[in-house]
Amino acid sequence: MPATKLSKTAAHDNASRVFDLDAMSLRELNQALHNLTPGSNETAWEVLHPKGSHSVAVGVDQPVTIDVRGSVGYYCGGMNDGAAITVHGSAGPGVGENMMSGSITIKGDASQYAGATGRGGLLVIEGNASSRCGISMKGIDIVVHGNIGHMSAFMAQSGNLVVLGDAGDALGDSIYEARLFVRGKVDSLGADCIAKEMRPEHLELLQGLLDRAGVTGVEPAEFKRYGSARTLYNFNIDNADAY
């Protein structure tokens, strides 16, 4: 059956549109995703046999669901703006890099710099994340069920990083205003990153993040909060309310 026919059928009954990367190219998949227009009925996509391919479902800007059945390579879901992407496997470096909105869920582990420079949306890693998770994050929310590696949240600017397990060395080095919540141990804190008081508004924020990430059986009070000591840049106390 030709692809166009398949897609019309899918549009008609909202069945998921299936892309098998053994039979079709990555470029065809990403082009089809980029061709989506607002209000399209092709709201459910499934990607088979990704086999570690790079750049699977990058730059999607429509609110569709994309289920990737297997492990992916570099930059999966990069620049995502509204799609709900689930990888039923592990992800290579740079998953969700510069995500704008929407969500990405990794059922396995994620390699280095997951969620780097992300501006919005939710990245959930159900396994472990590697080094530099959330590096230079600018508004994204990241929830990691397992551990994160060294130099995570380096120069993080805003957003929230939630870690149910442990964090590696130099957490939050040179951090600006992101909030880091870690339930386990932290090997060491980076420059200008300090433990902070967990106030009621943080508990509430954290509960919301855990709920959105589908985490159950874990209480916000089990976490410690870390953030910027604000000694590395000129901080005007008059602006404190903005944070």
Partner: protein, 298 residues
């Protein structure tokens, strides 16, 4: 960038397929490095012969008559199996050093790729597919092997600048990254009596490990030493006669993925390199930790 792979078989039934498996792993990483490619295969030990892998830019001239001339020079039988620009010289293990010297004397333009009881090393400028075809790597059998596809940074794109580098009997190493203190370490190793073929940083890492093992350290201990003595970016995959090891520098920005099943331990710069391995869907797959030594021995 560069792409590196390694495969250490636990299941003897896979040994006839080692070359084919390793070839596919390396080819899948071709776009990580188009400059040159190389592969080292550890075959089954025969007990009564050792091997020297040699290379020549003019194989028709340099390999012709080499077997008889070499046999005459060292006084024992020698065989020379030619594969394109490379050839494997086989002779009695106790005559290997003598054979090495005689080859250099008889054919000054021949370069030694490596030597040992079991290892064979093939490397050339070009893409992995071309290198694999040229040396018929797919039909090679063995217990373990490592491979590399290169995007050159620290030295010229030449056959001798390609990986793997071998600096000791049955020892070789592939590297993704770049070392910053290799000139200093090279000077120290030269003072110890080691010799170098190139200006390449990776050759220094290989020689460093050979030196450590010559001082009695095992593979794991030698790899541990790289963490304090070598400065720069590295993910190393190393082969010895019966072992296979992996180590990454503490920053660990050079990618690495490993997989282990009852049949094998596999390494790839990316998961793509592992997708065709048998049983990969149920393998334990993990990213090796920074500054942590992993090694396996038969």
């Amino acid at each position: 960038m560069c792409g590196i792979v390694g495969l250490f078989l636990k299941d003897k039934a896979l040994e006839p397929k080692l070359g084919a498996m390793l070839s596919e792993m390396l080819i899948s990483l071709s776009d990580r490095g188009p400059d040159s490619a190389g592969i080292a295969i550890y075959g089954a030990p025969t007990g009564n012969e050792a091997k020297i892998t040699i290379q020549s830019a003019k194989p028709e001239r340099d390999f012709r008559g080499l077997d008889t001339e070499l046999a005459k020079a060292i006084g024992v039988p020698v065989s020379v199996a030619i594969k394109s620009t490379h050839a494997v010289v086989r002779t009695r293990p106790d005559k290997i050093d003598e054979a090495r010297e005689a080859i250099q004397a008889l054919r000054p333009d021949i370069r030694i790729m490596g030597a040992g009881d079991v290892v064979e090393i093939y490397k050339e400028v070009g893409l992995p597919e071309a290198v694999v075809e040229r040396f018929d790597v797919r039909h090679m059998t063995g217990t373990h092997g490592i491979g590399h596809t290169r995007m050159a940074t620290e030295s010229a794109v030449t056959t001798m600048g390609a990986h793997p580098f071998s600096t000791g009997a049955d020892q070789c190493l592939v590297h993704n990254g770049s070392l910053s203190n290799h000139n200093n370490v090279r000077r120290e190793l030269i003072r110890e009596g080691m010799t170098f073929e190139t200006e390449n940083d990776t050759e220094v890492a290989a020689a460093y490990l050979s030196s450590q093992m010559a001082h009695g350290k095992n593979l794991g201990e030698a790899l541990e030493g790289t963490l304090s003595d070598l400065d720069g970016f590295f993910t190393f995959v190393v082969g010895t006669k019966n072992g296979f090891g992996v180590v990454r520098d503490p920053i660990a920005c050079k990618p690495a993925v490993m997989a282990e099943t009852d049949q094998y331990v596999a390494f790839g710069s990316e998961y793509r390199a592992l997708t065709k391995l048998p049983g990969i869907d149920n393998a334990r797959v993990w990213e090796p930790e920074p500054a942590t030594v992993y090694f396996w021995e038969h």
